[in-house]
């Protein structure tokens, strides 16, 4: 088994050995469930859209909570030294951590499939947007997680790591709200950089390569920066 997978397996075990995973998943499920079912019962409308719409905001709090200790804690407790003196490449450590946090995010998202099943049992489910929405959630979640891993590589303090991850994702989210105040020439670029715009596109059920490329490059760049930051201890 590749060292990256060994690391992610260990990390997943840590998540479920500690209250973190349970708290995050429970809070997440309660929040999204509340949103979905109030809409269902009060407005008599079975719709996944409100759930999808809140996710860019919800991820902003939930994902940094998941990722904050991934590397910061290893630095603080000194286990990074043990980990990194094993025969493992720095990027494998970063990818391993990323995959573990992704697994937890996907577990939480998996629980919300109950909403889709509810909608389907009550009426016709619009399959395109539903499938697109979930695919978009996984891609967007990946970008948030990668940013979180990157933030965690900058510091040995989990709280700082949380705040940095939150600030970066909030900044990227804010870009989407800023476009209308910007000159015409900038609007396209800024809108492209915003983290949730592409999710909305995918959520319409139209999978455009540009949107997919955006999330993959966000993941790639963030993980690259995290790897470099891990490597920086060895820079001459």
């Amino acid at each position: 088994m590749s060292p990256a997978l060994v690391i992610s397996r260990r990390e997943i075990r840590t998540y479920f050995n500690s209250p973190v995973a349970y708290i995050v998943v429970t809070v997440f499920t309660i929040l999204t469930g509340y949103l979905f079912f109030t809409q269902l019962f009060l407005e008599k409308q079975a719709d996944l859209r409100p759930f999808f719409n809140i996710m860019p905001l919800l991820f902003m709090f939930m994902v940094p909570a998941i990722t904050m200790r991934l590397l910061a804690d290893e630095k603080a407790s000194g286990t990074l030294e043990l980990l990194i003196t094993l025969p493992v490449r720095d990027w494998e450590v970063v990818v391993g951590k990323f995959l573990a946090a992704m697994a937890l995010v996907c577990t939480a998202l998996g629980l919300t499939l109950i909403f889709a099943i509810t909608v389907r049992s009550l009426g016709p489910l619009d399959r395109g947007p539903a499938i697109g929405g979930y695919l978009g959630l996984v891609l967007m979640g990946g970008a948030y997680v990668a940013i979180g891993v990157m933030a965690s590589s900058f510091t040995r303090n989990s709280i700082v790591s949380f705040i940095v991850a939150f600030a970066i994702s909030f900044g990227l989210y804010l870009l989407g709200r800023l476009t209308q105040f910007l000159p015409q020439a900038w609007q396209g670029l800024v809108a492209f950089l915003s983290i949730d715009g592409h999710f909305e596109n995918i959520g319409r059920g139209v999978i455009d390569t540009r949107d997919v490329i955006y999330y993959f490059s966000m993941i790639g760049v963030s993980l690259l920066v995290a790897t470099l930051s891990l490597e920086s201890r060895r820079w001459r």
Binding site: V6, R10, R13, G78, T85, P87, V88, R233, R234, W235
Partner: protein, 328 residues
């Protein structure tokens, strides 16, 4: 030269403006247990961190098992076992889980690794705590888990940063004999500031102080080289020239060096350095009798490794490092 397992040449490491390791050079051969001795903050751990590829040197090179620690770090890391200082181990894993993790990370054969984990666990005295969480273990047990992890893949080179810290006396004896046993066929570097430890386990000692290598040799050689074989002799002058007496003393078998010291009126004082571990008391006494000198004083300045260590690491660093090469 094929049995040189570790080759360090002009190693220097700066942390910002502080120089933690300064032009350190040494070699370690197969079958040596090298004790890395020095006060806290002397640069022992930093050197070890460089050898294990956790940090890179500011200047100089280090080769482990023939591979450069910077350019071929993965190859180096495959061949070493490392116990970091303070034994950082994931606290939320059980002992067995942690060793399994280490085995998987090293790509050990999943068919044989459980057997190996059991074997090394027994050898390190972990059988009773195999299912316990690392976080619940005492320092001594955690140390053993770290050792087990370092030896798990039967590496050719073991690098142990303070392997016996936090252990009780019985455990220390056990771990020392374990290290000695391993040292017969492998190469071991261990750091410590406990002197009896190196005397008990190491075949060779490096003393490092202020980032500089100040001594390199076997425990015996170091003791002898310092004041271990130093004698102070005072004889009544009786009109004999001190040079004559000096030449006589210097001519005795087993004397490496004889110097004239300042002495009181009517007496001559000399300092003799013994070659190797010769006992000079008898020859000096015989010489005095044969030459009819009146021996006023004969003192063997008994030195322990403690003295050597204290001399080398506290006084002014006048003693040149015995390895003086690889200047770039």
């Amino acid at each position: 030269m094929s049995d040189v397992m570790i080759e360090v040449d002009g190693l220097t490491k700066d942390y910002g403006s502080t120089r933690a390791v300064d032009q350190v050079s040494f070699q370690v051969r197969k079958g040596e247990v090298l004790g890395f001795l020095g006060p806290n903050g002397a640069g022992k751990s930093t050197t070890m961190k460089i050898l294990t590829c956790f940090l890179s040197p500011t200047e100089g090179r280090a080769k482990v098992a023939g591979f450069d620690v910077f350019d071929q770090s993965l190859e180096v890391r495959r061949r070493i076992g490392y116990l970091p200082e303070d034994t950082p181990i994931y606290r939320d894993m059980t002992v067995v889980e942690f060793l399994e993790f280490a085995a998987d990370m090293r790509g050990m054969d999943p068919a044989s690794s459980p057997g190996r984990i059991k074997e090394i666990g027994v050898r390190c005295g972990l059988a009773d705590v195999a299912g316990k969480l690392v976080g619940e273990l005492s320092k001594g047990y955690r140390q053993r888990v770290g050792l087990a992890q370092a030896m798990l893949h039967d590496p050719d080179i073991l690098i142990l940063d303070e392997p016996t810290s936090g252990l009780d006396p019985n455990q220390i004896v056990e771990i020392r004999s374990l290290i000695k046993e391993i040292g017969r066929e492998k190469t071991v570097i261990l750091s410590t500031h406990i002197l009896p430890e190196v005397q008990a386990t190491c075949s060779r000692i490096l003393i490092i102080s202020g980032g500089k290598l100040v001594a390199d040799g076997t425990p015996e050689a170091l003791r002898a080289r310092e004041r271990g074989g130093r004698y102070r002799v005072v004889v009544e002058s009786n009109g004999v020239a001190k040079e004559a007496i000096r030449d006589r003393l210097a001519g005795l078998a087993g004397v490496a060096r004889c110097e004239i010291l300042a002495a009181e009126e009517g007496a001559h004082a000399f300092a003799l350095d013994a070659a190797a571990a010769n006992d000079l008391r008898k020859p000096i006494f015989r010489a005095a009798v044969d030459n009819r000198w009146t021996l006023l004083e004969l003192l063997r300045e008994s030195a322990s490794l403690e003295d050597v260590f204290r001399n080398l690491t506290t006084g002014d660093p006048t003693i040149e490092p015995s390895v003086e090469k690889g200047k770039s």
